[in-house]
């Protein structure tokens, strides 16, 4: 594979990470919470789609449309029961509560479905298998040319659409303004009639729905099992951090960067894929937060 092709595949992979990361980024931006169960919720979404597909035989994409209201409901319930309490309690509490939730979800899934891996790649048919080759040929060292998988294109397009839609929602609609206002100053928002609980619930519902979509893409492009959640969480979080926490478009770019880092690392040695992503993440943390006294603009530990 050429470097160009590796980067291209990295972009497709990164788009998938961006979708996974989108909900995490939204919840952080609005509520300052990192949901440690985010990856498991994505996997839960994959299982919901799996159940529908196995039960009805329809295509996974249509099955997701059916799963969507369920995911939205889960989001609302999650916020109104657990997260709302955790928000009032302290900085550590949401992390601890969602960590506990993560373990609960993983093990409930283990109980309901076996530890076996599943995949929706087969059910997605042509979407998984179709790809186009451009500029292909052989030259000295190896094969040249680039491959464009249909799934990769779809995920990339969906990612861009979702981020754009979310951005439009936040900047052009009144519910979007209310979300931004509540994110900035929940108390002042209450004083002008905004019920912060509902705003948070809406944000969580959106985050869970998009996470579910990430789960769907995970199921189609790869395999998943009940304990796949933490891996997705780490990739999603890395994407958010690389792109800059609190920035929506940053999360998209961060996802792409992560994907490219992983595929380039895989070029060197297939076992280095995830490691390359981790190293990029750590490098970004070191640069941004120093170990060296970079900027002294009131930044304290």
């Amino acid at each position: 594979m050429t470097i160009t092709n590796a980067i291209l595949q990295g972009i497709f992979l990164g788009a998938f990470y961006a979708v996974l990361a989108c909900g995490l980024s939204l919840m952080f931006g609005v509520m300052r919470i990192i949901n440690l169960a985010h990856g498991d919720i994505a996997v839960l979404g994959a299982y919901i789609v799996l159940v529908i597909v196995q039960g009805t035989g329809i295509s996974p994409l249509i099955a997701f449309a059916i799963a969507l209201p369920v995911l939205i409901a889960i989001g609302y319930v999650l916020q109104l029961t657990i997260l709302q309490r955790a928000l009032k309690a302290g900085i550590l509490t949401p992390l601890l509560a969602t960590f506990g939730l993560s373990i609960v979800i993983q093990n409930l899934l283990l109980l309901k479905f076996s530890p076996d891996v599943h995949s929706l790649g087969a059910s997605a048919g042509a979407l998984t298998t179709q790809s186009w080759s451009l500029f292909s040929g052989e030259s000295g060292a190896g094969s040249t040319g680039i491959t464009i998988p249909a799934l990769g294109l779809v995920v990339l397009s969906v990612a861009v659409v979702i981020f754009a839609a979310l951005q439009l929602f936040l900047s052009r609609t009144r519910p979007g303004w209310r979300m931004r206002a509540t994110a900035e100053d929940p108390d002042a928002a209450e004083l002008i009639g905004i019920d912060s609980r509902h705003v948070y619930a809406r944000a969580t519902a959106i985050a869970v729905a998009i996470a579910g979509l990430g789960g769907l893409f995970l199921a189609i492009r790869s395999v998943f099992d009940p304990v796949s959640g933490p891996t997705q969480l780490i990739f999603a979080f890395e994407a958010v951090v690389i792109g800059g926490m609190g920035s929506l478009w940053g999360t998209l770019l961060g996802g792409l960067a992560l994907g490219v880092a992983q595929t380039l690392g895989a070029q060197v040695n297939p076992e280095y894929a995830a490691l390359s992503g981790h190293l990029l993440f750590l490098a970004v943390l070191v640069i941004r937060f120093g170990g060296v006294r970079l900027a002294r603009f009131g930044a304290s530990a």
Binding site: R174, W177, R178, R180, A181, E184, D185, D187, A188, A189, E190, L191, I192, G193, I194, D195, S196
Partner: protein, 242 residues
């Protein structure tokens, strides 16, 4: 019948009691100025009326209906709007967005972005600027406008002149005068005694959490006000309260 009735209100911060047994009434279309030294409990009282602070004891009633257990956003829907101390605009939103985000709470009243601009004409040019880029006076105008957008029946103002240049305060109070002339009911906390007395119908003075003086703004003796403000007894210095 009064629009707002506060009965025996007790407000605490942990062990510290900020408001002690305060009772107060504001009639429809009245403008009441709440004055007093720092720490007298004025802000806390306003916040308790708006629902931003849960009182320890006592009641807040709007139109004879008990709203004490209602959350702040529910009270906004009933018609109570607070312009908080320090303005607290949404810095990342534009002026236009700051105003319109407040609009949905009580639709169908006379206040729209257009009518707010009529009261604060200097905001027209800044409509699409992020709120963080505005001057203090402009921000105060947006803060008041934002509260007006909820079409309040009772407007609460906490230290509208704080941190503003005199020129800006003049502008704000001129506009406030317009709003009052339109028939609004206003309860305002104000450090600047002169301004407070000029704009208000009635004045209420607080000291150490209690109401120590109440009366008509124009006819109250200036010396009485000063004595009550500082907790001085008539005959000389010393002691607290009347």
């Amino acid at each position: 019948m009064s629009l707002l009735a506060v009965e025996d209100l007790d407000c605490r911060y942990g062990l510290l009691q900020a408001v002690r047994g305060v009772s107060l009434q504001v009639a429809e279309r009245e403008t009441v100025a709440l004055i007093g030294a720092n720490g007298a409990g004025k802000s806390t009282l306003l916040r308790a009326i708006a629902g931003a602070h849960q009182p320890h004891a006592g009641r807040v009633k709007l139109d004879e209906a008990d709203v004490t257990s209602l959350s702040a956003h529910a009270r906004v829907r009933r018609g109570i709007a607070l312009v908080p101390e320090g303005r607290r605009l949404f810095a990342g939103l534009t002026v236009d967005e700051n105003l319109r985000v407040a609009a949905a709470s009580r639709p169908g009243g006379r206040w729209t972005v257009r009518t707010v601009i009529e009261v604060f004409p200097f905001l027209q040019a800044r409509l699409h600027s992020p709120a963080a880029t505005l001057s203090g006076g402009e921000q105060q105008a947006v803060a008041i406008g934002r509260a007006l957008m909820t079409n309040p029946r009772l407007l609460l103002l906490d230290e509208a002149s704080l941190g503003l240049a005199p020129v800006a305060v003049d502008a704000v109070y001129r506009s406030l005068g317009d709003v009052i002339r339109e028939g609004a009911t206003v309860l305002l906390v104000e450090q600047d005694l002169a301004r407070a007395l000029k704009v208000a119908d009635r004045v209420v003075c607080m000291l150490e959490g209690r109401v120590v003086l109440e009366g008509d703004a124009r006819s109250l003796d200036r010396d009485r006000i000063v004595n009550a403000y500082f907790g001085l007894r008539r005959a000389g210095v010393g002691g607290a309260g009347t």
